[in-house]
Each structure stands twice: as C-alpha cells, then as structure tokens.
Amino acid sequence: MNLSVMLSQLGSGFLVSVEIFAVTLLFSLPLGLLICFGRMSRFTIVRLLFSAYISIMRGTPLMLQLMVVYYGPYYLFRIKVPMSYRLIAVFIAFSINYAAYFAEIYRAGIESIPIGQYEAAHILGYNRVQTFFRIIFPQMVKRVIPPVTNEVITLVKDTSLAFAITVTEMFTKAKQIASSQASMVPFVVAAIFYYIFNLIVALAMNRSEKALNYYR
C-alpha cells in the first residue's frame, strides 16, 4: 500500500473522528450547563440526583459507558439496533460523559463569582434569569476557558475510544491498516493527525481566551 492510499483511508477515518468531536461538544457544552443547574438546585433531592449522575459519569470508564449505551438496548430490552446506531451510541455516550465534566467546571466558575455581583444585580432589579445570563454567565465563561480547554484536548484523543465498538474513526482505521501491512507507519501518521488537530484546538482556545481579555 502506498502512502497516498494510506493517507486517504486515514483521512476518511479522521473525518469521522472530527465528527465525533464536533457533535460531542455541540451537545455536551449546553447539556453540562443544565446538569450544573441541577447540581446547584435549591431542592436537595434534585441536587443529590445530579450529584449521583456526575459521580457515576466521572467514576466509571468512558469505554464501559460506551458499551452500555451501545449494547444496552439489546441486552436489556431485546431491541435490535441498526448498524447506524454505532455512531449514534458514540455521540450519546460521549455527550453525557463530557457533560458531567463540563457541569463541574461550570459550577466551579459560577461559585467563583463574588456575591457582590448578585447583590448589585438584585438592587438594580434584574430577575434571576437576567442576573444569570447578563451578569454571571459571561464572567463564568471567561473563568472556565482554561479548564474547558483541558477537557476539549482530552476529547480529541478520547474519540479513539469509539474503536471499542468498531466505529471506523481514525484509530480503528490505523489499527486495521497496521495489522494488514504489518507496519508502524499508520500509527505514526495517526499520531501526527491527532497532534495537529490538538494544536489547532489549543490555538483556537488560546485565541478565545485572549478575546475575553478586554476586561479583568
């Protein structure tokens, strides 16, 4: 197999990796905010429920969660799932897992905002929703960018876990080519792809961090 054929095969796998990455962020970033609200609820029962959710999501392997989401419908309910469910299962498992991490990052961000900001908003007549979205949320975003960047970089590498249910993302492809050609080259190429992807992610996050430096 020549290099260009290998590159095009890995490239098609890479697109699937990017898709997993993008869809996961699209769902987990907002879902994390909802979970964060639940985790910070005034009602003890809601708070406990969401704390338990976060604890389980962070306390068990993502690969195991992926298996549960993928095989669960059949093993538990004897539902036959179509082939296309593989990728859906990855989206679901990744989104609910990453949302748990984002929820805790958001919570730390929200709790770091001084109480005086809430008091000033209250005196000025903002209601709870206005206070959150106009005063607290924008300041939280600035504070959580560094820890969110960490998670996003981890996510790039975690997309390779989709290998466990043979979704043909880049790592799965690399493994297939490597064993059929008895060659290390596909792994090296895949590593370069992941590395460059993360370099771009880090640069983009760095830029957004800088963009928010207009205030302190």
């Binding site: 900001q117 005196i123 005063i135």
Partner: protein, 232 residues
C-alpha cells in the same frame, strides 16, 4: 408621609442578635447618617433596608424606589462604564435607550468622568469606580439612595473625591442614608444622625445634638476619631 420607614426591625444571625428593635424614618430631602463602631449593626440595617437581607420581624415601608452604593463598588467587570450605568434602566425599567444614554452622559459629566464611557472598571481608580457606581445607582432615578460605607475601600485622597460628590448630591436635596466612618463629613452634611451600638440606636437627632451629647459611649467612640480627618 415619610419616604421610608423601618419599624421595630429585628435580625439575628444564629445566636447573635444584630438588630434589636430598630426604628427609623426618612423624609423626602433628608440626609441621614448612621455612625457607630464596627459590628454595631449599621451594615445589616442597610442590607435589611435595601432588601439584601430579610428582617426576622418588624415592618419596612417604602414609598419609592431604593438605590444602593456598595462599599466595594460591585461594578460589573465585563461591562463598560456606559453599559454598567445604562443596562438596568434599559432592560429592567424598559426606558428608551436614547433617553437613558443622555442621562448617563449627564451623570458622568457630573461625576467628572466624561471621556470614560468606554473604559472598563479595571482601568479606573477606586475613586473613579465608586463614582461610576454612584452614577449607576442614580441613573435608576431612585427616590432614596443608600450608601454602605462608600469610602471604606479608598485611600484618604480618593475618599475626599467621593465625599465631594455626596456633598453635591446633598445640595441637590437627594434623599440619602449614609453609613459612614467619616465623622466630620457626617456632621457637616447630615440633617439627622443615628449613633448605633450593639444593635440598638443609642442616640439620634440633628448632628450638633448627637456629636455633642454627654453620652459616655458616644464620646468614647468619637475619641477614637480624634486627629483623623477626611479631607473635608
């Protein structure tokens, strides 16, 4: 009818009774200063008056809108000076943007902050930040403006700046309640002074009466301020 009344207010934090049956009245145009040692309940009183704390018992009668200037400004760091001042009048009071901006510019001019419209709070000195926060409170057109130790976070020079602004507001007959440690200032600008200690009103009346009262606790308190002056 008074603009603002507190009747028999009590407030405890756990075992500690911070306000013990406090009553006060504010008439339109009044400047009321509340003085007293740290821990006497002054700030808690102000927080109850402005709705930041709920009293355990007693009643609060408000015949008008209330504004508050905080000790440490509490400006919104992510908003420009202009946005800090105009956002609530536009979004909460639903007033017209042009009118609010016009008023905000007038207030900034009055505060000596013309040209700082687009600055962010971190770019301003403490005195400038406090003047922005006074402008922010005034732009809501409150009927009564409360100040919670507005100069305690400032050095003596910047303190003078703020006291000058408050003095100008007093001359415009804006109704104000000021918790302060600036004795000479309180004495000079107030129509009424309340001296609090240990959660009760010990003395109240016009400034000459309160500051000259032959009251041991009051004289002991004032003694600690001898030799200090706030530049006004």
């Amino acid at each position: 009818m008074s603009l603002f009344e507190m009747n028999h207010i009590r407030k405890s934090f756990g075992e500690l009774e911070v306000l013990k049956d406090i009553s006060l009245k504010v008439e339109p145009g009044d400047v009321l200063s509340i003085i007293g040692p740290s821990g006497s309940g002054k700030s808690t009183l102000l927080r109850c008056a402005t709705g930041l704390e709920t009293p355990d018992s007693g009643e609060i009668i408000k015949n008008g809108a209330v504004g508050l200037v905080f000790q440490n400004f509490n400006l919104f760091p992510h908003h420009s000076v202009m946005k800090n001042i105009t956002l609530a009048p536009i979004k909460v009071q639903k007033r017209h943007k042009d009118e609010v901006y016009r008023q905000a510019r007038e207030l900034l001019a009055k505060m000596g902050l013309t040209g700082k419209e687009d600055a962010y709070p971190y770019q301003l000195s403490g005195g400038q930040q406090q003047r922005v926060s006074i402008a922010r409170a005034l732009c809501m057109n409150p009927d009564i403006l409360f100040f919670d130790e507005p100069t305690s976070a400032l050095d003596p020079e910047l303190t003078g700046e703020i006291l000058k602004v408050i003095r100008a507001l007093a001359q415009e007959h804006i109704t104000m309640v000021i918790v302060t440690h600036e004795m000479a200032f309180a004495r000079a600008i107030s129509d009424h002074v309340i001296f609090m200690d240990n959660g009760v009103v010990v003395l109240e009346g016009d400034p000459e009466y309160v500051f000259n009262a032959e009251h041991s606790r009051m004289q002991e308190f004032l003694g600690k301020y001898d030799g200090q002056s706030a530049g006004i």
